[in-house]
């Protein structure tokens, strides 16, 4: 009897011990998993930090050689190793600006159509089609732009612009020169087509987030659809729309392949939007593998650093704006 009691006590003890051991193992596994996930989260930060640091280190030789003049000089001469980033920076900003000038109003109009006008059964298919347009890889836009769009522009839109706006006193410098087909205008139009789906889908999302009560109240006092959009929806979603526009701008600024095909890669700042130009990303894509000499490579990396800096600021503003409207809508 006593023996049995002792035995069972021992069994209980050893069971308790093995249980404690098993629990310890689980606890250890738990801790390791938690550490792993935390390390992965930190890796995201490390990558962004790594991008900044590596680009900065890579561009030190160029920045030391040229200093501030790198930003304001137009020359780009691999033979004499004199580099300045003005033409690519100018091209990047101008193409993105023209692209946004077209894509923002069109995108907002499509978003308005999708949220206010479109019959219910058609909303999903059109929404999906617009999002598919966003998924088409940029190289497709590039090859299409080079073989189809540029020749088309060369024969139709560009001669038309030259013969009409080219004679209007103030704007005529914008449309000077022969119709090359490829150039700043073509790149801008392709960019506009590319960022259109981004702007559309974000504005549609924020438009849909407007509380129906507000719209119903406006319709109730007799507003037309346009007045509801103009005086209720747009003011309510302004921050979100700006966020979406900035997000599209971030895309346009950094877009590489679509632009590289059709910009013409000329390191020149010209007033005419019909002339060939270049952008930061197109310059890097075209010249990086062929760059000989440390200074040339370093100048291209410095261009990358400038691009990263510009897009970082734009995207940070975009995210901040979108975060604000998310909080408001809740």
């Amino acid at each position: 009897m006593v023996d049995v009691a002792l035995q069972s006590e021992a069994a209980v003890l050893s069971a308790a011990a093995s249980r404690a051991k098993a629990l310890d193992r689980l606890r250890l596994g738990d801790r390791i998993f938690r550490l792993l996930t935390r390390a992965a989260a930190l890796a995201v930060l490390a990558i962004l930090g790594g991008v900044m640091v590596s680009l900065f280190i890579g561009s030190v030789p160029a920045l030391r050689e040229f200093g501030f003049s790198f930003l304001i000089e137009q020359r780009w001469n691999p033979v004499t190793e004199k580099f300045g980033a003005l033409a690519p920076i100018y091209g990047t900003l101008v193409t993105s600006f023209i692209a946004m000038l077209i894509a923002v109003p069109v995108g907002l109009m499509i978003a308005m159509f999708l949220t206010e006008l479109c019959p219910m059964w058609l909303r999903r298919p059109i929404g999906i089609a617009i999002e598919l347009l966003a998924g088409v890889p940029s190289i497709i836009y590039g090859i299409w732009g080079l073989f189809v769009f540029a020749p088309f522009l060369q024969e139709t839109l560009q001669p038309f612009l030259i013969s009409t706006l080219g004679n209007v006193p103030i704007v005529s410098p914008l449309f000077e020169g022969p119709p090359y087909g490829i150039g700043v205008l073509t790149a801008s139009l392709i960019l506009a087509i590319m960022v259109l789906p981004f702007i559309t889908s974000i504005s549609r999302d924020v438009f849909e987030a407007v509380p129906p009560v507000l719209k119903e109240a406006a319709y109730g006092v007799g507003c037309t659809t346009w007045e509801v959009v103009r005086y209720v929806v747009l003011p309510y979603t302004r921050v979100g729309v700006i966020g979406g526009v900035m997000l599209g701008l971030g895309r346009a600024l950094g877009e590489t392949m679509a632009v590289t095909f059709v910009i013409g890669n000329a390191h020149k700042v010209s007033a005419s939007i019909l002339a060939p130009g270049t952008t930061i990303s197109a310059t890097i894509a075209n010249e990086f593998t062929e760059a000989v000499g440390a200074l040339y490579t370093s100048s291209l990396i410095a261009l990358g650093l400038i691009l990263f800096f510009i897009t970082f600021v734009v995207l940070a503003i975009a995210r901040y704006m979108l975060l604000r409207i998310e909080r408001r809508i809740g």
Binding site: D30, F33, R38, G50, V106, I110, A129, T224, R319
Partner: protein
């Protein structure tokens, strides 16, 4: 009189705005039709079995796209293998362990920026940290560059999907004594599986057309190569090279490659959409 003309003016303005929005939609969809139409037209005429069975030709002779297709599959596969686990773990931390942490909001912000950062900058980064120290272009470098693009997409969808998992599930699992890691692995991941796979599919769709980060990491290769430690061909880079060449048959192959990529991407995003809408 005055009131009725005011009303007429408002109606007119409304009609103008509405027709403009209709026109804008037609304009937007028109591009999709136009681009896909030309792509089908140009791409299909060059599509044949040869494209999938022969390597890229020298200019002037016939050939296919086999070596860039192999390259693209290998680069994409390795990129997913590298990028997905890190992305899922990071997303797990953000949704499960540190949902209300300061670290999580910082990581979310940075991740969103990485999500839309210019991909060519990623290429430069990998060139600096891998290609330059190793002394040569390689498939590994290309894969890592693509993995840097995969990761933010996966982080984002994993976090979003895990947050949607109802807390009652976690509480029930905790109540029967499961440790946290098991709750996440056996309960939350299962509940969020469809959404997480969607994220990976979207990431694959995103990188299968990426050209810029491969230009100076994986570079290109005229020949069939299974060696990830050497320069490697990929469809987008070959399209870039062939489209800008003066040779007609290369340009033709570029169109065919573009068709293959576009349909891969569209199929992946439609699959992802079907998966996420099925609840």
């Amino acid at each position: 009189m005055a009131a009725s003309s005011l009303y007429a003016g408002r109606r007119r303005r409304n009609i103008i705005a509405m027709s403009l929005s209709l026109a804008a939609t037609a304009f937007g969809l028109g591009w999709l039709v136009l681009i896909l139409g030309v792509l089908l037209w140009e791409g299909f005429s060059g599509l044949s079995l040869q494209v999938f069975t022969q390597d890229t030709p020298p200019p002037g002779s016939a050939g296919g796209l086999l070596n860039p297709i192999i390259g693209s599959l290998m680069l994409t596969g390795l990129a997913v293998i590298i990028g997905t686990p890190i992305g899922i773990l990071a997303g797990t931390y953000m949704a499960e362990y540190g949902r209300y942490d300061r670290l999580t909001s910082v990581v979310r912000f940075i991740n969103d920026i990485l999500l839309s950062a210019p991909s060519i900058v990623v290429g430069l980064f990998i060139y600096e940290v891998m290609v330059y120290p190793m002394g040569h272009f390689s498939g590994y470098a290309g894969s890592v560059a693509l993995a840097v693009i995969v990761m933010p997409v996966v982080v984002r969808t994993t976090e979003d999907m895990l947050i949607l998992v109802p807390n009652q599930l976690r509480e029930a699992a905790a109540a029967i004594g499961l440790p946290r890691a098991f709750i996440i692995g056996r309960v939350c991941y299962r509940a969020a599986k469809a959404g997480m796979i969607t994220g990976v599919l979207l990431a694959v769709a995103r990188i299968s057309g990426e050209t810029a980060p491969l230009l100076f990491t994986a570079l290109n290769n005229q020949f069939r190569s299974w060696n990830l430690d050497a320069p490697m061909a990929s469809l987008p880079v070959v399209i870039f090279q062939f489209a800008l060449s003066p040779y007609k048959d290369w340009q033709k192959l570029a169109w065919t490659g573009a068709l293959i990529i576009t349909f891969t991407v569209l199929a992946l995003s439609i699959a992802a959409r079907a998966l996420s809408s099925r609840k």
